[in-house]
Amino acid sequence: MTGYTFAYLDEQTKRMIRRALLKAVAIPGYQVPFSSREMPMPYGWGTGGVQVTAACLTPEDRLKVIDQGADDTTNAVSIRSFFRKVAGVATTEATAEATIIQTRHRIPETPLAEGQILVFQVPIPEPLRFLEPRETETRKMHALADYGLMHVRLYEDIARHGAITRAYAYPVQVEGRYVMDPSPIPKFDNPKLHRSPALMLFGAGREQRIYALPPYTEVRSLDFEDYPFEPTKAGHACALCGDDASYLDEVIVDDAGGRMFVCSDTDHCRSRRAAGRRGTMAAPFEDAAA
């Protein structure tokens, strides 16, 4: 595309973002303020992730974009075509082939490798936001590692419901220091953050914050000794590929409320089916998709 620099942002802006990224990598889990730009897509639709991706992209990169684990959800399609247009980079749907993966709400099922970068889109970077709405207060709490309020909140959950009810954006503590919001990934994905060989970068455009998990960082989901953290998923197997260990989407298939459960990670599901794995509803639905 003419009239714009590589990957849309001008070089000064990319440099500013890279400096924030370096600081974020140096202080894992710490939210670094950065001067977020207005992007040609709305705030709340991945502008933070897009800016981080734009600052990391090189012409040799191969980019994968997923939303809800899927490559073909509308916003993933839109962001992928944005980068094809403004950076001309190669894109892929195969997790293992991607050098940079921008994601919203999921971590791919295929384990990530060294050298890969996972960029998260973050709506509310502050894990304490719903306990204390004021930024001026939460920054103080982070500075003092004063996380008592969070522990009380989790304890109250247990007292009231017998379990911690947080199902996604489940708070983690990084290297025993900063409590961090892992973005609204289901808590099923939290264990994938721990000592991941890939570099994980988090961008919150509207809230003007960047944070990071360098490779092999210790990431612990908050819990109690007698109420240990439990990643959960629907108790079914994927109706298309038969996997009973992947995270599942629930799809309503008829007027009577009949439903099927399918892998949320479309690349994972497709490669399993390509390898000959079949779920209970594989045949008819695949015909319909063709």
Partner: protein, 360 residues
């Protein structure tokens, strides 16, 4: 169901093609040109310029056309374009005292040097739908008066001279810029004014109105409201002098507000300040009231009396591009999170129902 999700790329292209058709409307009706929008929907253009923070009436008119008349969508288009523009220079501070005023009124003095000039205002019109307008008849020319020759000094200057109004110390410090640095709190007044100058008009209006109804009251009078054109000059380092590069239309409002005084300061008037690109009367008055309410902390006033006094609340929520983006993002797929929530809810419900049965 699954098939529908698969068609993402084609569905988006088809939706955008339909949108283009809807934007055009009935092809039997002549198409609007940006020139017509700029000339005849000028207040809409002005709002887009003010909230888009870009003085370009032609571009704002085009944005309004592309946005099908949706002001916030048009502001968004302008903002996204604005970020790609290089910054060539910063102008010298504008001298609004040198404004060639189309309108200038004061509610605090019956008359003052320069006089009261009503200008092209809706004030005192009776809000009766003018059915004749639909016929598109030519407009009879308005009577013309000779241009004002004398100066039109700021009204608050008279209060200044008497020491009745709190002086605003002049400063040569470079003002902060929230489009180039992340918002840091507490913010100084210059930064707050920048945020308010591009804030959503509806939000400013509601906040200002809330102060009038007692939520952080500041007892404001419109000391002066002026609308007109002001020259813009840029210092050219190679030449060693400032060169006028054009002029912009501005609306400026200074309110005069009560201040009971503090330990270090006697009772005096204080001022709220509003400034906007283009003729933007309502937003400028609202901005001045909110600006004054936000000065409560610095003036040592009780700050717990209303949301308009709460700097973090106001600055974090006044931008309609941030707000509408985040509000509307809940249209995006959330089924991963929702599945996670429903799974948890099903488990808790089962446990609760089992507990009830056991008790019965």
């Amino acid at each position: 169901m699954y098939v529908a999700v698969k068609g993402g790329e084609r569905a988006i292209a088809a939706a955008h093609a339909w949108l283009a058709e809807e934007r055009r409307g009935d092809p039997a009706v002549p198409e609007l040109s940006p020139d017509q929008i700029r000339e005849q929907l000028r207040l809409a253009v002005n709002r887009v310029m003010a909230e888009g923070s870009l003085y370009d009436p032609d571009l704002a008119a085009l944005a309004l056309k592309q946005a099908r008349g949706d002001a916030v969508e048009a502001v968004f288009l302008i903002r996204a374009f604005r970020t790609t523009l290089p910054r060539l220079a910063a102008s010298r501070p504008l001298d609004t005292a040198a404004m060639a005023c189309d309108r200038r009124i004061s509610a605090t003095f019956k008359d003052a040097p320069g006089g009261q000039v009503l200008g092209p205002t809706f004030d005192y019109t009776h809000r009766l739908i003018d059915f004749a307008l639909a016929a598109g008849l030519p407009v009879p020319p308005a009577p013309v008066a000779p241009p004002q020759a004398g100066p039109m000094p700021h009204i608050t200057g008279f209060l200044d001279r008497e020491g009745l109004i709190r002086p605003e110390p002049p400063s040569d410090a470079e003002p902060p810029d929230l489009t180039r640095a992340p918002l840091a709190l507490p913010a100084d007044r210059a930064l707050r004014l920048q945020a308010l100058a591009r804030a959503d008009e509806g939000f400013l209006l509601a906040l200002a109105y809330s102060t009038q109804r007692g939520y952080g009251s500041t007892h404001a009078f419109v000391g002066e409201l002026r609308i007109g054109r002001v020259p813009v000059a840029v210092e050219i380092p190679e030449l060693g002098l400032a060169v006028e590069i054009g002029e912009v239309e501005l609306t400026e409002c200074e309110t005069v507000n009560q201040f009971a005084g503090s330990k270090s300061e006697p009772p005096q008037f204080t001022r709220g300040y509003g400034l906007a690109l283009g003729m933007n009367e309502r937003r400028t008055i609202a901005m001045a009231l909110v600006d004054r309410a936000l000065c409560a902390r610095e003036l040592g006033e009780d700050v717990g009396r209303g949301p308009a006094q709460d700097e973090e609340f106001v600055l974090s929520h006044c931008d309609n591009i941030q707000a509408s983006g985040f509000l509307e993002h809940i249209k995006l797929p959330h089924y991963v999170d929702f599945q996670s929530e429903s799974e948890g809810l099903r488990a808790r419900r089962a446990a609760a129902l089992a507990g009830r049965e056991a008790a019965e």
